[in-house]
Amino acid sequence: MPDRRLGSQLAPHVHGWLLLLPAVALLAAFTYFPAVAALWSSLHSTPKGARPARFVGLDQYAAMVDDPVFWQSLWNNVLFALGTVPLSVAIALLMALWVNGRIRGRTALRMAYFTPTMLPMIAVANIWLFFYTPGYGLIDQVLGLFGLPDTNWLGSPATALPALMVVTVWKEAGFFMIFYLAALQAMPPSLREAAMLEGAGRWCIFRRVTLPLLMPTTLFVLVNAVINAFRTVDLVVVMTRGGPDNATALLLYHIYEVGFRYWDTGYAAALTTVLVVILVVLAIGQFVYLDRKVHYR
């Protein structure tokens, strides 16, 4: 019967979209619509009081090319991503392997690793401010025991960005660990046992069995880590406000400043658009590249 065949051909499409509908409706209302609105306003001047916005074409983007803070924050952000992403993912994996393995007191350890995720950023940033304080801050107190001089970690351009990277790795590793842990727990022990029977060493099992099976998680964690690196802002606000002399200005912080301090919404919209394009390209790139290597069972 032709009708029924048509119906059964349509069914997956209809079911698929029906299942998606609620999520898509909310995404449309609170992400796509405002994002398109941002793109639209990036092509206009910033309305000021009685002066309405007028169409300026690509003027905002031309201004961006001449904006040294934009270039510096972009560069800072690249450094920030290179410094935090590999490190936090590697530490997260190490943590997950440890608390999944034979370590003593792994319940307590799991809790310890996850603590940073549970502490509010506003408070955490203030606590780290103490660690970095020159002279009597915790780091200088410890270094002082070895006779090392005081260091103004957040106050000199060379150390400020690395100091923020450390806080970020600390805050994120435990968060990513949870995903690795979930994946490790869901992994059938039979695979490992089979490999052990064949006389494979731990390192070999890890490389040949565990790591490939963790690829979907790694993909997910990597995409998130990169995105997080490009959306870090609260840390900068509390700890350095982008200083000294823009040494810790990250892209989203620059957007926040332009949008919510200068109220130059048109230019902020243009910066937002650029950030979104960067992130989409990065995410799709990683996705396409890594998805090929991922083995779904």
């Binding site: 997956p12 499409h13 209809v14 079911h15 698929g16 299942l19 998606l20 609620p22 999520a23 898509v24 409706a25 909310l26 995404l27 609170f30 992400t31 796509y32 405002p34 994002a35 609105a37 530490i91 943590m95 393995g101 370590i103 003593r104 350890l109 799991r110 809790m111 310890a112 690793y113 603590t115 940073p116 549970m118 502490l119 509010p120 506003i122 408070a123 203030n126 606590i127 103490f130 009597y136 801050g137 915790l138 600390w170 435990g174 949870i178 842990l181 979930a182 727990q185 869901a186 979907p216 998680t217 997910f220 959306r231 802002v233 609260d234 950030l275 979104v276 992130l279 799709i284 069972r297």
Partner: protein, 274 residues
């Protein structure tokens, strides 16, 4: 085999490394506990003879109506989590198991939300909320976060690893589309739900900017807004009171996690595919 010297050495090194890292990771929390229970003069001096005090908690408690904020935070995270679990499960199922027209494009569009965080769109979203008359409500704080690309992505990855044979078995038993989802996929993905739930709760418990902007009254504001009274002051940082307030705001989460531990581990074990 497990008694050989190199093996024991490796185990020792691993234990030490794991615990050193753990210590490093809880250091800020330890500092918070130390500082919150001692007078301000001992905030940066670690002297075992330092007197204990609850004065910092008294001061923090007086600065904002914390019990009410606590209730608000609780309402906020539960409603966000409930919405996220339902919406993300449905969407992830669609992406993982249905070949429908426009699936890849739709998936990329969802990924876009991973990147365009609601924080970047506050002005536009505020306008939308105002148009719907939702300003100063839990709904306004929760709605932009409910369709979480993060959750959809995560569950899709998990659902994709579920063997198709289980689908077919359930179908033979007469389960429909949602029945299969409920009976096969949801139970198998439990560890991921637990992990995601934990992450979502801790994220939204600590979220600040958007709740600050869309709420106006004590009856809707979450805890972090109360906590903000102590940061960014003209007077500089008063670590004693900040840490006391931090412990007060983070305590429910820390305690819940402690109580949850067993549940947490068990659900990991039970979910293993045998």
């Amino acid at each position: 085999m497990n008694g050989s010297f190199p093996d024991r050495l490796v185990a020792l090194l691993e234990n030490t490394g794991a615990w050193l890292l753990g210590l490093l990771w809880v250091l800020p929390l330890l500092f918070a506990v130390w500082t919150a229970f001692h007078p301000a003069a001992f905030a940066v001096r670690f002297d075992l003879a330092a007197p204990l005090t609850l004065e910092n908690f008294v001061q923090a408690w007086a600065a904002a109506p914390f019990p009410r904020y606590l209730l608000n935070s609780f309402l906020l995270v539960t409603s966000i989590l409930a919405g996220q679990l339902v919406l993300c499960t449905l969407a992830a199922y669609a992406f993982a198991r249905f070949e429908f027209r426009g699936r890849n494009v739709a998936f990329l569009l969802v990924l876009v939300q991973l990147m365009i965080m609601p924080d970047a769109l506050v002005v536009e979203n505020y306008r939308t909320m105002h148009a719907f008359g939702l300003i100063d409500s839990v709904a306004a704080m929760a709605l932009p976060y409910m369709a979480s690309a993060f959750g959809i992505f995560l569950l899709r990855q998990t659902f994709k690893t579920v063997p198709r044979e289980l689908d077919d078995a359930a179908r033979v038993e007469g389960a429909g589309t949602l029945g299969i989802l409920w009976r096969v996929y949801v139970p198998l993905a439990r560890p991921v739900y637990v992990a995601y739930g934990l992450v979502s709760i801790s994220y939204h418990w600590n979220n600040f900017l958007w709740p600050l902007i869309v709420t106006n009254s004590v009856t809707t504001r979450p805890l972090t807004v109360g906590l903000a009274v102590f940061s960014s002051t003209d007077q500089g940082v008063d670590w004693s009171v900040i840490t006391a307030a931090t412990l007060m705001t983070a305590a429910p989460l820390l305690i819940a996690f402690l109580l949850f531990q067993r549940q947490f581990v068990q659900s990991f074990m039970r979910a293993g595919i045998k």
